[in-house]
Subunit: 348 residues, 2 copies
DNA sequence: TTGTAAGCGTTATCAA
DNA sequence: TTGATAACGCTTACAA
């Protein structure tokens, strides 16, 4: 038995008014009397009317929905930025369609197609690892769907807002911290260089060594594809190097966790035998023993800014194509904990 | 400068055919000659045509999109089930709108409204902690949008498919394991009882004690609201009980992590002084030191089944209202590791 | 095998 | 302040 959905005709009929009146009242059009508006809303509620967003979007060319594409949402960094985007969107009257690219170029393309088909008003994205060309985003921009990048940004693409942290100086700061703690032979485990952010983090690490007149030793520099298996492999490999490091900077959370626990499993004392600094927003960083010194990124601010900038662009009067795009770089904070600081009290 | 989006009229004009031909060709209607179909698709591609899903959905009353509502996707259990739903949906030609309720009743209601407005073809949901009444789901079902529950199911709601694990016997199995390991005074940290699954886990724990003629000691039974702060509080509280437990069953991942690391911070040796068993799919369970014994749920199967059952119901010929709903209960597995087993080799 | 035209549920444009 | 009616871009009888 198929139940008929209530539409504005049903509401109009019940009140003996026209559908235009109903439509206007539901959209709070000021030309409709307060009295009529109240009556219409009451009746709509009573009949269980639910506006058909498809029909509405078809007419207005606005869906009040934005799309978000992230590599994997089960990483604290993305979970927290997406949370912030959601909250900001809600405040601004937008719904959010979350998509995961799972770091695949093809999936990312498919996501864009879905979002464009759904006629979202804008897209916020952090690039998949595999992604090198940005044609799919150009397609969206050509269709007048604004795109805002965050974290893993597409620097080559003009006409987009980009929001990121200062990865170079974050890695520089973290490395300098290790040097100040007295470590002499500092290794690095990073991500794939095809993503700008990992290139920058590697650069910051190397520059800090150079700034302190320390040699760069490629035999204690590892790269991972960010999967659990590969992070484990890299941790093992670096700790079994012929001349192993006395400190390691890890460019993501999973790597630092693998490094610490693998080191412990081969009886290295942390931070005495080897120190570890990571990039992490995960609550376990503070909880685990030893607790993890980590660069913390401003997730909340990134998400909020991304959404605000996107809506600015959506609302922009598009008669002339001169919206001013910006690239915003935010600072990070280094949370010093036990994994890089012997004097740190494990119990807080 | 507003760029006009390409529609089927543009494609039709470019080929000097009618819009119906274009529409049919794009939908692989067999009545259109292979030759025409090819030409249309080529031209559509060339012009950058992207089907307007709003218009299409408006006509067909099908959006080929389903909605998923989970409490928080940055928990491995939900991340993995959603991943499985996504993959299965993709295979079946569906898109997925992911929503997070953040365990709030109001947010869950808002999610339902958004999904209904977007005219999704069906909804898969795991309930928010706060949710007690299920009126919003009834509304969806009344509008002929099938609902499939998983994990945190709405048992009171008829006419829905429900997929869950056997929480009672999982907790029973985990507790029995601790008893067999020789622990005599086993505590429990669970979640809010308003959610059936935590009620069942508590029940399984208690029954195992009863089955082994062990007393139930309420002073070492804690409940949490699943937030980090509260999990920490509960861990601390149970370990400082006047007669503290020599083993603890934790009903979720965060609790077990907090318990283990808090115990270590007050110099308890695990598993000698106190053993811990959790519920967890998180890769860190295997990685951390000590590694965590945990009940592992069949995330992949749950997600896949949920999607399959949902599509079955969507595709069901709805002339008579007699779709047969089922409640499916899946088994879990206990991964025994170091946190409950002294003889377990820490290095694997 | 293809074309014509009606209709999906809104919003927008006129007129009243 | 309201009503009639034409769009929006697609799918689908019904005709040809």
């Amino acid at each position: 038995m198929i139940k008929k959905k209530i539409n504005i005709y049903d509401v109009a009929k019940a009140l003996d008014v026209s559908i235009s009146t109903v439509s206007r009242a539901l959209n709070n059009n000021p030309k409709i009397s307060a009295d009529t508006t109240r009556k219409v809303k009451q009746m709509a509620e009573k009949l269980g009317f639910q506006k058909n967003a498809l029909a509405s979007g078809l007419m207005t060319n606005k869906t009040k929905t934005i799309g978000v594409i992230v590599p994997q949402i089960n990483r604290e960094f993305f979970a927290q930025t997406v949370r912030s985007i959601e909250d900001t969107a809600f405040e601004m009257g937008y719904s959010v369609m979350i998509c995961q690219s799972h770091d695949s170029y093809l999936k990312e393309q498919a996501n864009i197609n879905t979002l464009m088909s759904s006629r979202v008003d804008g897209i916020i994205v952090s690039l998949a690892l595999e992604t090198t060309d940005l044609k799919h985003f150009e397609k969206a921009i050509d269709a007048d769907i604004p795109v805002v990048f965050f974290d893993r940004v597409g620097l080559e693409l003009p006409n987009t807002t980009k929001i990121m942290v200062d990865n170079f100086s974050s890695a520089h700061k973290a490395t300098s911290h290790l040097i100040q703690q007295g470590y002499k032979h500092i290794g690095y485990i990073g991500g794939p260089l095809m993503r700008q952010i990992f290139e920058e983090r590697l650069g910051g690490y190397k520059q800090a060594l150079i700034d302190h007149n320390m040699p760069i030793d490629d035999s204690i520099i590892e790269k991972t594809d960010l999967t659990q298996q590969d992070c484990y492999r890299a941790a093992k490999s670096i700790l079994h190097a012929s001349n192993p490091p006395d400190a390691i900077l890890c460019a993501n959370h999973l790597t630092s966790v693998n490094t610490i626990f693998y080191a412990m499993s081969i009886n290295r004392i942390i931070p005495n035998d080897v120190a570890v600094v990571g990039f992490s927003e995960n609550p376990i960083a503070e909880l685990m023993i030893p607790s993890l010194t980590a660069v913390r990124q401003p997730c909340y601010e990134m998400g909020k800014l991304a959404m605000q900038k996107l809506v600015e662009e959506i609302d922009f009067d598009q008669e002339m194509n001169n919206f001013i795009h910006s690239t915003i770089v935010l600072d990070t904070k280094l949370d010093v904990r036990a994994s890089s600081n012997g004097s740190f009290a494990a119990n807080n």
